[in-house]
């Protein structure tokens, strides 16, 4: 009994609760509406199915949201990830070239292609980081510059064309499988582990959170906030680079106009859904992954329900609004009676109510 109570308390206090609830809700909806959503088949030794699809398609978003989490945690934001995704893809496609008649060859060895794309993307992140940490620009503006110019750069590389990539080993990145699961899943897992290690097994996580809450105090405590900020933006660029490779590999081409469209917004929303505050400070990598999964499963669900794709945006907007509202304490307080009425229908809901009702008064008198 005590264990259950403790679990309930932890669930009530954990920031991951609401995102998990949202994700579960989407899953439940699918369960009722299209049970085949959960079916997983094995074809050619690989796993297939809607669930796998979500993981695969959501990989770029998950990667971007990891980088974005750290940036937001320092109190900043990175609006340039979309165009950087495009730049990475464009660079790769450009270096591979397209032979004279779309042959399956490459002008540059694949490892070099990947390296170049990642380098350029990381350089973009570094540029952002320098503007923010050394020149002292506001993140929204600094990354806005690259966001604006970045599209132009990508278009410059591809000369406005869609460059098709015929070199099949390249397709493996986005479309290949490893141990029955899509390769992208492993990429995401690897980056997640790397970030988790960097932030929780070294002092970097503490520094990032400290800077996000109060960068002056962090400076006085000897934290080199300039270097930390430089690092997080660079990492964000790096993530965008990987995402760019995956995206262009999936569509077997580089489309400078459309690649990465809306990605930064999705990434920021994923981070917000995951419980990290836009003001900076405490962050949760797992939360952002959850947020990305929410967005991705939403998209997949909407497609499978048969809603015309045009409507997706609106539905996305509404669902995200709902989650944000639920996360907003104000909203919960104002609508407690209604929400309470719903939740108290179940025992689980009642305990959730009890545990999430935080004492409203902070430090009492002064």
């Amino acid at each position: 009994m005590n264990l259950l109570k403790e679990l309930r308390e932890r669930a009530g206090n954990s920031k991951l609760t609401w995102p998990l609830v949202a994700l579960l809700t989407i899953m439940l909806f699918n369960l009722f509406y299209r049970p085949e959503f959960f079916s997983i088949e094995v074809k050619e030794g690989h796993l297939f199915g809607s669930l796998i699809d979500i993981l695969n398609r959501g990989a770029p978003l998950m990667l971007l949201s990891l980088g974005m989490t750290l940036v937001i945690a320092t109190g900043g934001i990175d609006l340039s990830v979309g165009p950087v995704v495009a730049i990475a893809g464009a660079t790769a496609a450009y270096l591979i070239g397209h032979g004279t008649h779309g042959q399956d060859i490459t002008n540059t060895p694949l490892p070099l292609v990947i390296l170049a794309a990642l380098l350029i993307a990381t350089a973009g992140g570094l540029w952002n980081g320098l503007l923010v940490s050394r020149v002292g620009l506001q993140p929204i503006i600094a990354t806005l510059i690259l966001m604006t110019a970045g599209r132009g750069i990508a278009q410059l590389i591809t000369e406005g064309q869609i460059l098709t990539v015929y070199y099949s080993p390249y397709h493996y990145i986005g479309l290949g499988h490893l141990l029955a699961l899509p390769f992208t899943v492993f990429v995401v897992a690897a980056v997640f582990l790397l970030f988790w290690f960097l932030t929780r097994r070294t002092a970097l996580g503490l520094f990032i959170e400290s800077i996000g809450v109060n960068d002056s105090a962090s400076f006085y405590s000897g934290i080199s906030e300039k270097n930390v900020k430089l690092l997080v933006y660079t990492l964000s660029g790096f993530c965008a680079g990987i995402a760019g490779l995956i995206v262009s590999s999936e569509i077997k081409s580089a489309d400078a106009n459309n690649a990465g469209l809306w990605f930064e917004l999705d990434a920021i929303l994923a981070v917000v859904l995951g419980g990290t505050s836009l003001d900076g400070g405490r962050f949760s990598l797992a939360g952002s992954i959850l947020g990305a999964l929410i967005i991705q499963s939403l998209t997949t669900t909407i497609y499978s329900v048969g809603v015309p794709p045009e409507v997706i945006m609106v539905v996305k907007a509404m669902v995200i609004m709902a989650v944000i509202l639920l996360q907003s304490k104000r909203f919960r307080q104002a609508f407690k009676p209604i929400i309470g009425a719903f939740l108290s229908l179940t025992r689980r809901g009642r305990s959730l109510l009890r545990t999430t009702r935080l004492p409203s008064g902070e430090s009492a008198s002064e």
Partner: protein, 323 residues
């Protein structure tokens, strides 16, 4: 004497923007004599008024310390709904214009309410608004809707001749909106409250200023401006589509910032916004005249110029604060 210097320093970003525009205009005229014509200048206005109208509203938002990412989407939505109403539902054009303006105002009020009452950060609230508006465009139609209505066409082709050149009606609209905006900001309590909120919202509250009401009004006003810009845009394009004005919200924001308005809020000039728009509008023209550079360079150059302005703003303002 020190007073004069102080004045100069305070308005330096604004002066720099105006100066830069004049410089750009002059240099380009020297390099490409064909550029130095009244009509070219007028076309600068003709092609960019919708940006200016939207930027006027955005100036209010940014001075108050907020931001609105939905503007370009509302422009697109306005154009789309206008086309839909006029072409598919055969609504009278002027009624249509009135309706879409109302729509923009209501949308703005909605976002303002979210920001004020539910304390959702402006970035997030207007981001969702941006999704919503574009999404609604596609719900109406995934294809273009062309406006054939004679009245719309007449307005779109209407020319007002001034000397050797002509301007379009939206220029008039914009230049009527401009002094109204200046009056609002500098001579009304509403406008001063906007500045106060941007300067220190907490203090504004404690001083008894109607912060909540004003904030909602700001976004409502901006919604109206976006819709008005959308009406101008619909004259420009004579059609509606979900991808119109894609990405232009940044252009709007950049214009405001170039005009000397601080993103942190509390300081800003509508007049500067005008020149910010003009500068951004000049760049693609220069590139076109130049001929060899591809149009992709536009975006890059805009980015770099914006960077220059921000750095300068920073260099001037930064001497006060420690960090």
């Amino acid at each position: 004497m020190i007073e004069k210097l102080r004045f100069f320093r305070k308005y330096l970003p604004l002066i720099a923007t105006i100066g830069l525009f004049i410089l750009m205009f002059a240099l380009t005229s020297v390099a490409f004599p064909a550029f130095f014509s009244l009509q070219v200048f007028f076309n600068l206005l003709n092609d960019n008024m919708f940006v200016l109208i939207s930027a006027i509203g955005m100036t209010f938002v940014i001075i108050s310390g907020g931001i609105d990412l939905s503007v370009a989407s509302v422009i697109a939505l306005t154009a789309m709904v206008s086309a839909w109403l006029v072409e598919w539902l055969n609504v009278d054009p002027f009624l249509t214009m009135g309706l879409v303006l109302l729509m923009g105002t209501v949308l703005g009020a909605g976002m303002g309410s979210l920001i004020q009452y539910l304390k959702i950060p402006p970035f997030v609230a207007t981001l969702v608004g941006m999704f919503m508006a574009r999404g609604l465009c596609f719900v109406i139609s995934t294809e273009y809707i062309v406006i054939e209505h004679p009245i719309y066409r007449a307005i779109a082709n209407y020319r007002i001749y001034l000397g050797d050149g002509f301007i379009k009606p939206d220029v008039v609209i914009a230049f009527v909106a401009l002094p109204i905006a200046i009056f609002l900001l500098h001579y009304t309590r509403f406008g001063r409250t906007v500045y106060a909120i941007g300067g220190d919202e907490q203090s504004a509250l404690l001083m008894g200023l109607p912060v909540g009401r004003t904030k909602i009004l700001i976004y409502t006003l901006n919604g109206f401006c976006s819709a008005l810009a959308g009406v101008a845009y619909s004259f420009y394009k004579l059609s509606g589509h979900g991808l119109y004005a894609y990405g232009r919200e940044l252009e709007v924001i950049a214009s405001v910032v170039m005009g000397g308005t601080l993103l942190t809020g509390g300081v800003g000039y509508v007049l500067g916004t005008l020149f910010g728009v003009l500068i951004q509008g000049t760049i693609p023209v220069i590139i076109m005249f130049q001929g060899t550079l591809s149009s992709w360079w536009t975006k890059i150059v805009v980015g770099l110029i914006t960077l220059f302005f921000i750095v300068m703003q920073r260099a001037l303002g930064a001497t006060n604060s420690r960090r």
